[in-house]
Amino acid sequence: MTRSRPSLFSLVLSLPLLIWQVAFFLFPLIFLVAISFWTVRNFQMTPDLNFGNWDRILTRGTFWDAYARTAMLATASAALTSAIAFPAAYAISFKLSERAKQWLVFVLIIPFFTSYLVRVYSLQVFLSDAGIINAFLDMFGIGPFLMLNTTFGTLVGMVTLCLPLVILLQVFSLNFVNRDFVEAAHNLRCGRLRTVLAVIVPSARVGLVIAALFAFILSFGDFVSPLYLGGGNPPTLSIMITDITKSGQQWPRAAVVALMMIGTLLTVAFGAITYAYKERGK
């Protein structure tokens, strides 16, 4: 298309989405930055240029504790989910028939359209002290184990949330691995495990890293699992945001927490993507 004045037609098609996303996505995010400098007087937010909110949040030990806990939970969830997902994704991509593959991909899409809340509530029933798992183990005289309201519970919830997406993303990236390389490795008497580590993982690196990144992003922002499976105390950053927002008018402080989260996510995403696309063999 030549460089000319955009036609009415092109504007009618392209502008609605742009306007909507600028007005209702970009503006609210910019507004979040603005209100982090506002002050609250008599339960009213007043425009201001005050660093008090930042100062108050960033000098608090509780914030940094929550920050470290959230980052660790998200990292653990991303690592755990990737480790559980990889053998499954590998088997789906390399070992299954085309038909079985399609069927499994469809099955793995289903969870996206189930309510995460309902699943977490159901997990409570599974994990609680007198719940399904402990009752089951009790038949063999084992347990009971404390699983609900622990870090373990939180991680179970996060893995439930992330696993289908991570398997799917890994499968898609593994599908692009050149099968001739794998064949060549076999012919050169490269063992199975070594083929996976030396040939398949490096060729699928971009997809694997991006899958882990998504698990990190999802877990980092999730407030449902830490709250209803982890007990919510001590809080994570997202629980902090919901608490501050729902319990009063201190939205500017919640905005500071939210911006710190966005900053962290952008840094992690940038780092992960740089790593993923780094030249092979350094």
């Binding site: 392209s14 997902a85 309902v118």
Partner: protein, 266 residues
């Protein structure tokens, strides 16, 4: 490497797939089973069969109000997101322009922002412009979150289109509008319907942003969040099971449309 060992590893891998699927679906199936169970807090051995929880939600006027809100929001959001997504997908398909990357980033990024942050930003912004606490605020927020899905689905369909098709229409004297109406929309029709269904399903299940901005006009998922914060209530399972069945119906419809359309193309 012996064949036997190979077979063993393959069997172990398949077992692992099965374990993952069980892990993912246990809570979903569990919720179905619990919804039909008499126990308030189910455990092993399970209590007897009961439709008590369904009766309770059937008789709860708040659940009906929530359901009504959810459906209204879902329908409107689906139409808005699909229209916006179609425009975005066609723009990406057809035009190159300065700043296109920014355009695409704005269009596609919302799902990567954590929902609590979206919720807070939406709440702060919408209450400033006096829109928070209304059904409109949920529609606005869900429009932002759903249009990327619609755009991706429609863009995928457009990439299956023979680019000569449009040129042929222009050569035959059709202007851009006529081409849009007689060539592009018919071609993308299955994807348009798929986008409608999928965005509706996404909106049906979204609770976090809706919770932040909804005020008193709660949708059903927000209601579930309320139940979850209160006492133990297996009503969640009953509502969840019904919501699951309706979402999955939408997805299967979308899937069938997309599958048929890719068949008649190639």
């Amino acid at each position: 490497m012996t064949g036997n060992r190979n077979r063993l590893i393959n069997a172990a891998l398949k077992l692992h797939i099965a374990a993952c699927v069980i892990f993912i679906f246990a809570p979903i199936l569990g919720s179905f089973v619990f919804s039909l169970n008499s126990d308030r807090f189910p455990s092993l051995p399970l209590g007897h069969f009961s439709t008590e929880w369904y009766r309770l939600i059937w008789e709860d006027p708040f659940v009906w109000a929530g359901f009504f809100n959810t459906v209204v929001v879902g329908l409107i959001v689906a139409v808005i997101a699909t229209v916006l997504g179609f425009g975005g997908a066609y723009t990406d398909f057809r035009y190159n322009f300065f700043g296109k990357n920014i355009y695409l980033a704005l269009a596609l990024l919302p799902p990567t922002i954590p929902v609590v942050i979206m919720g807070l930003a939406m709440l702060a912004f919408l209450s400033r412009v006096n829109l928070s606490g209304s059904t409109i605020s949920i529609i606005i927020a869900h429009g932002v979150m759903c249009s990327p899905f619609a755009m991706a689905i429609i863009r995928l369909r457009l990439s299956q289109m023979d680019p000569d098709l449009e040129a042929a229409s222009w050569n035959l004297g059709g202007n851009e509008w006529a081409t849009l109406r007689h060539v592009i929309i018919p071609f993308t029709k299955p994807a348009l319907f798929a986008a409608l269904f999928i965005t509706m399903a996404v909106s049906f299940d979204e609770f976090a942003v809706a919770w932040f901005v909804s005020g008193l006009n709660e949708t059903l998922p927000v209601k579930i969040l309320g139940f979850l914060q209160g006492q133990v209530s297996p009503r969640i399972n009953a509502i969840g099971s019904l919501a699951f069945v309706s979402s999955i119906t939408l997805i299967i419809l979308a899937q069938m449309l997309l599958r048929n359309s890719s068949k008649d193309k190639s």
